[in-house]
């Protein structure tokens, strides 16, 4: 029985992870559940999965939960998060959203825990630190993102076989084929309608700007130890091929499946095994009968280019880019800025960031904080 600490249990990925755990009785035990403020959802999860430990954002919520569940250890705040991430367990499943995810991943790696990683910011901002520390501690980082899970599945059994190219697929988002002018006029409602995946709001907007693919390029670099020019972004509107790998013999291995996050989630949980999922099989005579691939329009959608630039320049630029992007997406979600303001403002941040190559966790968090402040300053002007 694998013992799981689940960080971000009430979000889209967290609830799907619990769905998989619930479908596989006797395979997993839930040791810790962590969420921000969705206390009612968390209480229902505690009822069902009976963890030993829970953590929430605010002290008053922690008190309420402690009263309701007398045997449960309840923590709160940043410290509660770290307590949960370092509790006695086999896998820390990190599906927290945003930069909050970095510190608990780091703490868990230092404690030698296996990480199932759905939190992008951990690697985007802290890739250098996290991967270096994981190597020192002999810790496995198991990707949960559908693309990185695909790549990870494709390299299995190829120990010692170097990767020639990573083929990172992208749906292209709801605005594929749009001109700059068309992009200027898109609304929040349009941006929130992803053609293929049902996800949280932040990542849905990132998918529309293609920043999500940019963040994934950075994650892929860190997870698989390749050079940026070995990562090729390929637009694949059907979202059936979740990514692939070319080896030095020119053989390409890809992973396919219906767009259901529970497949990569179950792989990270059961790795190196695989769960028996009773989902529909991929049908090559209907859903998967036509698969198309095309170049991303990196002139109109600038965010992928920002990510390659952040990798090339290194240092804290990726952390700054990511922090600024979080602020900009939030502003767009609140209808305070236009869709194209996201990439235009990001470009200013990229151009003016004072890069630092001190990759300590404190300095990374500082670069993030500073970029957020500066972004708000630019928007106020």
């Amino acid at each position: 029985m694998k013992r799981i600490a689940l960080l971000g249990s009430t979000g889209s990925i967290g609830t799907q992870a619990l769905d998989i755990i619930g479908r596989n009785p006797g395979r997993f035990s839930v040791e810790a559940l962590v969420c921000g403020s969705r206390i009612d959802d968390l209480a229902a999860q505690i009822e069902k999965f009976r963890p030993r430990l829970a953590a929430v954002a605010r002290e008053e919520d922690a008190k309420k939960l402690a009263e309701r569940f007398p045997g449960l250890d309840v923590y709160w705040g940043e410290e509660g998060l770290i307590t949960a991430a370092t509790c006695d367990c086999d896998i820390v499943f990190n599906s927290l959203m945003g930069m909050r995810g970095l510190a608990p991943t780091y703490a868990a790696v230092l404690e030698g825990k296996t990480i199932a990683l759905a939190n992008k910011e951990t690697l985007v901002a802290g890739g250098d630190l996290i991967m270096r520390t994981a190597a020192e501690k002999g810790v496995s980082i198991l990707p949960v993102d559908s693309e990185h899970s695909a790549i990870f599945q494709c390299i299995q059994g190829n120990e010692g076989n170097p990767v020639k190219r990573i083929i990172l697929t992208a749906s292209g988002g709801p605005f594929r084929g749009y001109s700059r002018q068309q992009l200027e006029e898109v609304t929040l409602e349009q941006a929130l309608k992803h053609p293929k995946w049902n996800m949280g709001r932040k990542i849905t907007i990132d998918s529309a700007t293609l920043m999500n693919k940019g963040l994934e390029v950075i994650e892929a670099k860190w997870l698989f130890g390749v050079r940026p020019d070995q990562i090729q972004v390929v637009v694949h509107p059907q979202s059936i091929v979740h990514s692939g790998v070319e080896f030095m013999d020119t053989s390409v291995i890809t992973q396919m499946g219906l767009p259901d996050m529970r497949i990569p989630i179950s792989y990270a949980l059961e790795y190196p095994g695989r769960c028996v999922n009773d989902f529909d099989s991929l049908d090559f005579f209907s859903t998967a009968s036509q698969l198309t691939f095309e170049k991303p329009d990196m002139d109109t959608f600038k965010c992928i280019g920002f990510a390659y630039r952040a990798l090339e320049e290194g240092g804290t630029l990726a952390a700054a880019m990511n922090g600024a992007n979080e602020v900009l997406v939030q502003q767009f979600l609140e209808k305070k800025i236009k869709f194209t303001d996201i990439q235009d403002t990001l470009e200013k941040i990229m151009d003016t960031h004072e890069n630092s190559h001190d990759m300590s966790i404190e300095n990374i968090l500082e670069a993030d904080r500073f970029a957020r402040e500066k972004t708000m300053d630019i928007l106020k002007k």
Copy 2:
């Protein structure tokens, strides 16, 4: 340095295997070269690759070679074939054509040699015997066929993860979409023009009748230990996806590449490593930008159905089907019968075969011999 005995060195697969060996100096040594009657080609190969041993079909050819290459051990006939297959080497690479390939594979397995297998008949006729013996001797059978190599690549790193479904792709051949009536009128010249692969004449005709895919269904069953109903034939005219595997979690892994047999050949030779091939990479923005999949027309093209039937009934039926098919293809190549006579005559053989479940090599060879005779009898009527 891996020491290779290459059976069938002057054929299409054999020469491509030597191409790979030549491109990777210091990785492989050629211990034995075996061919039928293309003595001049063989002599050139001996000059270049300097084997210790050679074998040919006829005694007089063996004598000529022995005179020309004084230090070389030259053998001939069936015995020569077995001598080569059991010589001191690491891999017996069997690219012989037809039933001739079965006995040397069996002899090599008994000697505990790793087999790189391009000879279909070995498994079609003798799958039960060969796989049982290989398991007893702890021998690896490495597939060379592009489809089976694809499947083999896809299951790497999945030890202990059962296969749910094998997706066996088929180009559909030159007559995809033809009606029975259209099929009646096709010529030898049309049948020899395969849309995607450049192969030998026998396999090109088998690709046109789809018998080739039927033979591959049988091979897949033996190589990967699945039930026939777990093997799904999927027509994929672009021949980019060479096959794939669905696991129990509904994740599908596929192998792709340009249609170049040197990729699977190099994988079998270097397994579990991979060669550094300087071939063109698969381009998802041109050659591979559109991949389509469809159901095979198993009513018009009956041969795939024969193969499933042979698997279901078991015994020597597959050997008889295969033997009859070899005769029929040869007759068609000599323009003595029509294209549709191949499947129509095969159906008669399937219907009248007296099945035997004694799977000794003698009985398999006898079923093959008898089916050939009977086929000629039917054609004479």
